[in-house]
Symmetry: C2
Subunit: 234 residues, 2 copies
């Protein structure tokens, strides 16, 4: 349709349009729920053309993965030292939001590219934690890799669970939910949220940074799991 007006005989434009449409669909509905027919309809082409250009749904997804990955890694290269607040708006409100949601869907879908995204994210975080970023300095843990992974996981979670947050807080949209959570998250990132702990000789843990790599001591209660339990506790 609209492509025919501009495209020559060879129409890479159409393939790109299909790919971009697929990214949007994947980001909105997830991978398994998105159908080739749905993508084709959204791009105003026939289902066969989608397969013709990309070979299969799996290869189309691979193409989308590559494009999103490159776009996301380029974005930050273009804005190398932008303050976090601006990058936040850029990623949550601009056209990048689709790519971010695609990224999040990849995070939950068992796929090699999703893992690649995550590993890259952890590696970047590890460097940032070590060197600081934009004037921020971070706590240094013994097991730096685990620390980076933990922070990566925590940083992703508000967007992963944003639909649940939206309902729980009554917020309107993604930006609203994040804005509502932001002060709490920032406070937590600055000071934690545990102010005092029970006296326990039997479970006394090396309080500071007990995360010795591999050879870590039993370390007492599992921090994460314990919090989960407290939640289920009444």
């Amino acid at each position: 349709m609209s492509s025919t007006s501009r495209a020559p005989h060879t129409a890479p434009e159409t393939a790109e349009r299909i790919r971009d449409t697929a990214i949007t669909e994947f980001a909105a509905r997830g991978f398994s729920s998105t159908t080739v027919r749905g993508i084709a309809a959204a791009a105003s082409v026939s289902p066969g053309l989608v397969i013709h250009h990309f070979g299969s749904k799996a290869k189309l997804r691979a193409a989308c993965d590559d494009h999103v990955f490159e776009t996301l890694t380029d974005i930050k290269r273009e804005n190398p030292q932008a303050p976090p607040s601006l990058l936040a708006e850029l990623l949550t409100e601009g056209p990048m939001r689709t790519y971010v949601e695609y990224f999040l869907k990849s995070m939950l879908d068992p796929s090699g590219q999703g893992q690649r995204f995550f590993d890259h994210y952890v590696a970047v975080l590890e460097q940032i934690i070590g060197e600081g970023f934009a004037g921020y300095a971070f706590r240094q843990a013994e097991d730096r890799r685990a620390q980076s992974t933990a922070i990566a996981v925590l940083a992703l979670s508000p967007m992963l669970l944003e639909p649940r947050v939206r309902h729980a807080l009554g917020t309107e949209d993604l930006a609203g939910s994040l804005a509502r959570l932001a002060p709490c998250l920032l406070d937590l990132y600055r000071h934690g949220f545990i102010t005092s702990e029970p006296d326990r000789q039997d479970l006394s843990t090396p309080s500071a940074a007990p995360g010795g790599r591999h050879d870590a001591p039993p370390a007492g209660p599992e921090g994460e799991a314990s919090t989960t339990n407290e939640g289920d506790q009444r």
Copy 2:
């Protein structure tokens, strides 16, 4: 087969076995990926019998939701003040692990029951934060609801993303991943992970928090999103 040996003509036992099998399958593969035929095969019955007992796949899922929800809420009622470490093992290593994974799958799947789970979780957390729990005391935020929600989200995330963590850290299983993350998470819960921040007069304005709701202090950039951006930063 095995049921025929014990079950009378009326076999509520079979229906329960189908439901329990379905819970296991749902927890392992997710809802959309789990098939009625797969459940039937795992339970050694015919697909038609599954529908006969529950009416449809959706109703079967509703029955599973109810059962998991009741089981999880009962567990904590039975162990009211058990130390977090014991509850952790109970939920991650015992037979409850299946229910926990079912709960996590519900968290990511857009469904009413999943939201019910989450809302209940937030409510319980809010009470715990206010009153303390097992000797722990927690920071009190102005927006307590948002604080509870934030902590709920953060507490769930390590298990949600555990497959990614497993690959990133090279751990063997869920317990291994959590054990490796635990010291970092605990340290973060105690002290946060930001040690110093840049001096910024220009960004001290509410511009950072768009849609700033109620009286929550601007508190600078969005904690979550900013961290996400830092991650994409190189």
